[in-house]
């Protein structure tokens, strides 16, 4: 059985206990944080396991890359803690179960991963992807399975992920451009944390977009707009990719507005929180986040994750802010049009 590569000593020597003291949802003083964290490290029960919203942020806050979030999830599963209602977990486990249905486009050494998100069928168009057209993997057989971190099911990840790697390896893929952070985070962080070999190079699509834009700098017309960036939970698994947001924005003339809930202090879209903790906390998080975007004077809200888009695009639009996915933002800068838009009729009467 695969085991989390976790180093107890690093936590024993940690002075900050940032994994808990920086948590945006569990407010602990340092002493309590240390005590509760030691309980978790030693396999004992802690209220933290129940209170965790699974926002992933502690994974980023740990200065030693010791994977505190993965450990929390391990302990939740061991203790039978359910971060979300049981039927929701069952639905997710069933939904993404590999069934031998391989959705593969043009096979090549460099391919795009659409994860399990149909939004990318809409988004992936135009010059930015013209040499990658059709080189896509999608669906259960290539699904990164990181979502089970939200549902205290590392056992599912450990069971399925090696086969996913094998499925990608068999295609002969050398570089996989991940359009969803969960995939990139899985291949760059989660899999190595469990000692799972990654037989290809994962490339974050921000890096891909940046390089493509660099190659067509003459075609770029600076957008000269102010935008808020909506970080997503799984970006916490690969915080190093956040610099590409700045790089891309600089390249295409977008000002990343300064606001309270960005970078390390970003708030997630909160739909996972809604599923696990109910509407009150989720509504509060979303309100604080959107109010902050408005206060910062953003014209656009730039989304990275399609799930965040589903959760928040309509809500920011109602506040007069234009929602746009990062891919579409880049397309605007080279004279192309936005593909992913709010449905005109979300509500049919």
């Amino acid at each position: 059985m695969l085991e989390l590569q976790f180093n107890k000593t690093k936590c024993s020597n940690c002075e900050g206990i940032f994994c808990l003291t920086r948590c945006q949802y569990i407010h602990l003083d340092k002493a309590t944080a240390k005590s509760e964290w030691q309980k978790i490290v030693n396999g004992k029960d802690s209220f933290v396991l129940q209170a965790c919203t699974t926002c992933y942020a502690c994974e980023e806050y740990c200065p030693f890359d010791n994977h505190p979030f993965y450990l929390i999830v391990e302990r939740q599963e061991e203790k039978g803690v359910l971060p979300a209602p049981r039927p929701i977990i069952t639905m997710w486990v069933n939904q993404c179960q590999p069934v031998g249905r391989f959705t593969v486009g043009r096979v090549g050494p460099k391919m795009l991963s659409y994860c399990f998100l149909p939004h990318f069928n809409t988004l992936v168009k135009g010059k930015l992807f013209e040499d990658m057209f059709g080189a896509v993997v999608f669906g259960q057989e290539f699904f990164c399975n990181a979502v089970y971190l939200h549902y205290a099911r590392t056992s599912v990840i450990k069971e399925r992920l090696p086969q996913i790697m094998e499925n990608i390896r068999k295609l002969g893929v050398r570089e996989l451009v991940c359009l969803h952070d969960e995939c990139y985070g899985t291949f760059s962080s989660l899999a190595p944390a469990y000692g799972i070999e990654v037989p290809f190079k994962p490339v974050h699509y921000f890096e891909y977009l940046y390089n493509k834009l660099r190659g067509m700098e003459k075609s770029i017309v600076k957008l000269n707009v102010r935008a808020a960036y909506q970080r997503n939970c799984s970006s916490r698994l690969a915080p190093e990719t956040d610099r590409f947001v700045d790089d891309i924005f600089n390249l295409i003339g977008v000002e990343r507005v300064k606001r309270e809930y960005d970078r390390g202090n970003a708030l997630c879209c909160a739909e996972i929180i809604r599923m696990g903790k109910g509407p009150a906390l989720a509504d509060d998080v979303q309100k604080r986040n959107i109010d902050d975007i408005v206060k910062a004077g953003a014209e656009y809200c730039v989304f990275n994750c399609p799930a965040c888009w589903d959760a928040l695009a309509d809500k920011v639009a109602r506040k007069g802010i234009k929602p746009i996915h990062m891919i579409d933002l880049c397309k605007l800068a080279i004279g192309e049009t936005q593909s992913l838009k709010l449905p005109e009729l979300a509500v049919e009467v």
Binding site: L82, A84, P85, R86, P87, I88, T90, M91, N94, Q95, Q97, V99, P118, E271, I272, R274, M275, G278, P279, A307, D310, A311, D314, L342, P343, A346, V347, E348, V349
Partner: protein
């Protein structure tokens, strides 16, 4: 006895030659529906345009003792308009006018062949603040046929069966007289199918065209809110479902509640999906109702037995569509386009037992199954569907599906349910169980209205 040619000529004189057929192709088509009942060809198919033409056709049939079967779109799946004794199929689809909308009294008067889709479009275009209870049948289903079979639609939880929403009828009796039922019998207004008069609509609704042909129907309309949303609740504990339904109903905030259970696609396996619809004229109203729904099941949420799925706008779109397209998708799961369901009307407490039976029977006969349940009234009952899809090109699979359906129907009756839009075999099963005096009353009514037994014979046939 006049000759077939003479009947054909007579029908031609009534409706014109373009609207009568005795051709092989037409007879083949009208001999069957999408379900499992055996086909039987009519001798003629006729498409009248007016009530007077319907009258003349009925008088001809009555005089010549020819079976006559009024038909809407033929979508009941239980063979209700298969002409079991041949004769004349009266296809009502040319009588498709929307005659009147009374905005203030909130009703519409439609002709006997008006479709659900046409009425929906008409209201959306001309009266967007009004709506009717759209069933999850294809848009070609007719308003009258759906009322006649006691169909249920999107307003079933709030207002009951679609037949409860009828506000008046014009009927051609089997002997040819035209009769108005309800307030329209004494008033120019079609606001009530009965009260305060004796409610005679029961002589026609639920009789599957065996007591007359409905040529006009008044239907109650209801406020159409500006916004509509669906909340998807999941539970994996079947025994909780009845209580969840009662709690949702208790809020009096819910437009419609539909429960889905099926093993495929995999995301559905092992959980029951309770689609809960709310409407509002403002974000505030909608949000308030959402909170009421959450509050109704909050303790189940805390115990982790019930969860809510976050659904994207794209994910919600098919759930919000009216009619639902999911039924059609399910109908072709087995590939080959065969689909039928038994839909007993039953107290909601029976949900766990019915689910267990569905799973047992599907395994026994090796057929693909699903179930869609709709809450009717404020928890007064539900329509539980034992649904099976099959490949029409596979006779063995069809036979197994039929056996599965029959076993489920029998079980439902034993459990106290009443079968909805029953096929002729199921009608017999119910009549065998029926109070003998009730059966005798039905028999007397039928004999009184249709002395020559010409109307849709084979249905509600009492010995």
């Amino acid at each position: 006895m006049v000759t077939t040619n003479a009947i054909y000529e007579s029908l031609t004189k009534i409706v014109g030659k373009d609207y009568v057929s005795a051709s092989k192709e037409e007879r083949y088509f009208y001999a069957r529906d999408g379900g499992l009942m055996p086909p039987h060809e009519p001798d003629f198919v006729v498409l009248p345009r007016t009530t007077e033409e319907v009258q003349q056709i009925v008088r001809l049939a009555n005089r010549e003792r020819i079976p006559i079967v009024p038909a809407g779109a033929g979508l009941a799946l239980t063979g209700l308009v298969i002409p079991q004794r041949g004769g004349i199929v009266v296809d009502m689809k040319r009588m498709d006018s929307i005659l009147e909308v009374n905005e203030r009294a909130r009703y519409v008067i439609v002709e006997g062949g008006t479709t659900q889709g046409a009425l929906k479009s008409y209201l959306q275009k001309h009266y967007p603040h009004l709506r009717h209870s759209i069933p999850d049948a294809p848009p070609s289903a007719t308003v009258v046929a759906n009322a006649v079979i006691h169909g249920q639609g999107r307003l079933a939880h709030q207002h009951g069966f679609n037949s409860d929403m009828v506000s008046g009828l014009e009927v051609v009796l089997p002997t040819g007289e035209v009769c108005r039922i309800g307030s329209c019998s004494v008033s120019p207004y079609w606001f009530s199918k009965g009260p305060p008069l004796p409610d005679l609509s029961g002589l026609f609704l639920g009789w599957f065209g065996t007591t007359g042909i409905i040529t006009k129907l008044g239907l109650k309309l209801y406020p159409c809110k500006k916004m509509r949303d669906v909340m998807v609740l999941l539970t994996d504990k079947v025994e909780l479902v009845p209580d969840i339904l009662l709690r949702l109903s208790h809020t009096e905030m819910v437009e419609d509640v539909v429960i889905s259970a099926q093993p495929l696609p995999l995301r559905f396996r092992g959980t029951f999906w309770i689609m809960t619809y709310v409407t509002g004229d403002s974000d505030e109203e909608l949000e308030f109702k959402r909170k009421m729904v959450w509050n109704a099941v909050w303790d189940y949420f805390q115990s982790r037995d019930v969860g809510f799925i976050s659904t994207s706008p794209e994910g919600k779109a098919p759930l919000l569509s009216m009619p639902s397209k999911d039924t059609t998708r399910f109908a072709d799961v087995a590939k080959g386009g065969g689909f039928q369901y038994a839909g007993p009307i039953t107290p909601i407490e029976k949900f766990p037992a019915f689910i267990r039976k569905l799973e047992e029977v599907a395994a026994k006969y090796n057929v693909f199954y699903g179930s869609t349940t709709r809450l009717i009234g404020s928890g007064h009952c539900m329509m539980f569907s034992f649904s099976f899809s099959f490949n029409r090109a596979n006779p063995d699979e069809m036979a197994r599906a039929k056996k599965a359906l029959d076993e489920c129907s029998k079980f439902a009756l034993e459990e106290g349910a009443v079968l909805w839009k029953p096929d002729r075999d199921e009608q017999k099963m119910m009549m065998e169980r029926m109070d003998p005096n009730t059966l005798e009353l039905m028999k007397k009514i039928k004999q009184l209205l249709d002395p020559n037994g010409i109307m849709n014979p084979g249905n509600w046939e009492m010995k």
